[in-house]
């Protein structure tokens, strides 16, 4: 998705108000953007607190700054700058975190972002966009630039199966229709589920809903209809339970008086074995691999 992101940014680099800051990351990936932006591409060094403060200062003066790093370094290290400098002033700074969830795999726990969007959403007023497919990225970028608000863009890898026709980006999309259950998934995990669900007959197939923008606004009526008519609602996300999609979904349903017959939540459990490995390894440990998810649908 990083390449798709770079291309998407290059495509909008002609906007004269765009400034891009990186926390010394993007080697062998962001060079085309650096070339396209010239003086408006700034390597702020390994100093994320300052980078977000600088971005807020630029935004206060009318710029549209984007600040880029590995996901944990863009929200956790400068969290108070996000809170005080960006969110409190509703400044249109976009934080871009590459490798959300367990995306950095065996790079280890310090490089994982398991509570990123929950932490960011807790500040209020920050849009979170979690593309699932490469084709989402340019539309997510356009969506962010279409509004004058703070945003967090969580990037991962496009995991959709070959030949899958990716639907246009939207906050809510139903990717698969079925009768067995309803899954609400956030982010690239959707790709693996698509592959696994491919051949199931309708009666054994769940509805697969993909949410790509948080908090959960503008929930479609069709989603509630699916929740009502299927026996099991499952939320799936590569994020801890606290502050994640599952918690928010439960709240939204309770507020609306919609009671699923059964509700389960598959989420990042951290490091249950105390061992480290690939993104796939950590997903399996958390029961987030497609096989575990399908088995748990019942």
């Amino acid at each position: 998705m990083r390449t798709a992101f770079c291309s998407a940014m290059v495509a909008v680099a002609g906007r004269p108000d765009l400034v891009f800051l990186t926390g010394d990351l993007g080697f062998m990936a962001l060079e085309p953007l650096r070339d396209a932006l010239g003086r408006r591409f700034i390597n702020a060094g390994v100093a994320e607190q300052n980078m977000i403060g600088v971005a807020a200062g630029l935004a206060r003066d009318g710029w549209r700054p984007w600040a880029y790093s590995i996901a944990p370094f863009i929200y956790a290290r400068p969290y108070e700058q996000l809170r005080n400098d960006v969110a409190m002033h509703s400044l249109p700074v976009t934080m871009v975190g590459n490798g959300g969830g367990y995306g950095y795999g065996v790079m280890g726990a310090t490089h994982h972002a398991l509570e990123d969007y929950g932490a960011v959403l807790a500040l209020g007023g920050i849009r979170v966009l979690v593309p699932a497919f490469d084709t989402d990225v340019s539309q997510a970028v356009a969506s962010i630039l279409g509004q004058s608000r703070p945003a967090y863009l969580r990037l991962g890898l496009d995991e959709a199966p070959k030949g899958f026709e990716r639907p246009p980006f939207a906050p809510w999309r139903r990717l698969v229709e079925g009768d067995a259950a309803t899954i609400l998934v956030c982010g690239p995990l959707a790709g693996g589920l698509l592959a696994a669900l491919g051949d199931l007959p309708r009666e054994r197939r769940p509805n697969l809903w993909l949410v790509s923008e948080l908090p959960l606004d503008a929930m479609p009526e069709a989603f509630f209809a699916d929740v009502r008519r299927t026996p099991h609602l499952m939320a799936v996300e590569e994020h801890v339970a606290t502050g994640g999609v599952g918690e928010r979904l439960a709240r939204e349903l309770l507020l609306r008086g919609v009671a699923p017959r059964r509700f389960t939540h598959r989420c990042a459990l951290g490091y249950p074995s105390g061992r480290y490995g690939s993104q796939a390894f950590h997903r399996r440990e958390s029961g987030l691999d497609a096989a575990s998810i399908l088995a748990a649908l019942g």
Binding site: A47, Q49, N50, G53, A56, A59, D61, N84
Partner: protein, 268 residues
Amino acid sequence: MPNRLTRDDLTRARLRLLQMHFEAGVGHIGGNLSALDLLMTIHHELMQEGDAFVLSKGHSAGALYITLWALGRLAEDDLKTFHRDDTLLAAHPPPAGLADVLFATGSLGHGLPLSCGLALSRRLRGEAGRVWCLMSDGEWNEGSNWEALIFARQQGLGNLTVIVDLNGLQGFGTTAEVADLRPLATKLRDFGWDVEEVDGHDVAAVVAAARRDSAGPRAILASTTKGRGVSFMEGKVEWHYLPLTPELYEQAVREVRAAADTPSATAG
């Protein structure tokens, strides 16, 4: 817009600052008194059209409000709401509602990165304006400032001037006792900054230092006295916190008035 700052202006501002804190029954007076002359100097003498100001030491918001009042940007009625319910004039600058306050500060170590952003903005646009940032000395304990020092130098932000209110006291002791950064000037110079050291209560000296040419970012280390102008507060940590009793308020007012009637080498 700038107008000449007189000794009477400073005395009037100091008295109004004391009155505002006394009527509100609140502390943080010491750091406000040390910063007042600098704030008045920046706003009345130094700032030009297109400039921006960031108060990094947000706990001196009271002195900023008084400075804005002296400029006619805040009304007498506004000052009466200081520190009360339903006010915009909180003890630290608010994020919205006051056109002259660009950022909510109060958590230390934010103003310098924000100022770097404002300075970079002007440079990218090819605009002439200067960014002024007022910091405390205790604030230099925060690591984000050192990140910003590196950034400002690397980006060649010659349109950025930081003024440090060097009053020598911080939250729970002197700066020497808590986190000794002396000599700060040497450290900032080692980061590639242009550094001037002045008496922060000497308006002419601050102005002269600020107007000297500098190729890169500039820091003016302005030695000040916490509680300046009030004998029982000067140099006392407790006046970072304590509110004034009626008796002490009367004494403070008498002292500030008496000092105004005494010839002095400095404007404060």
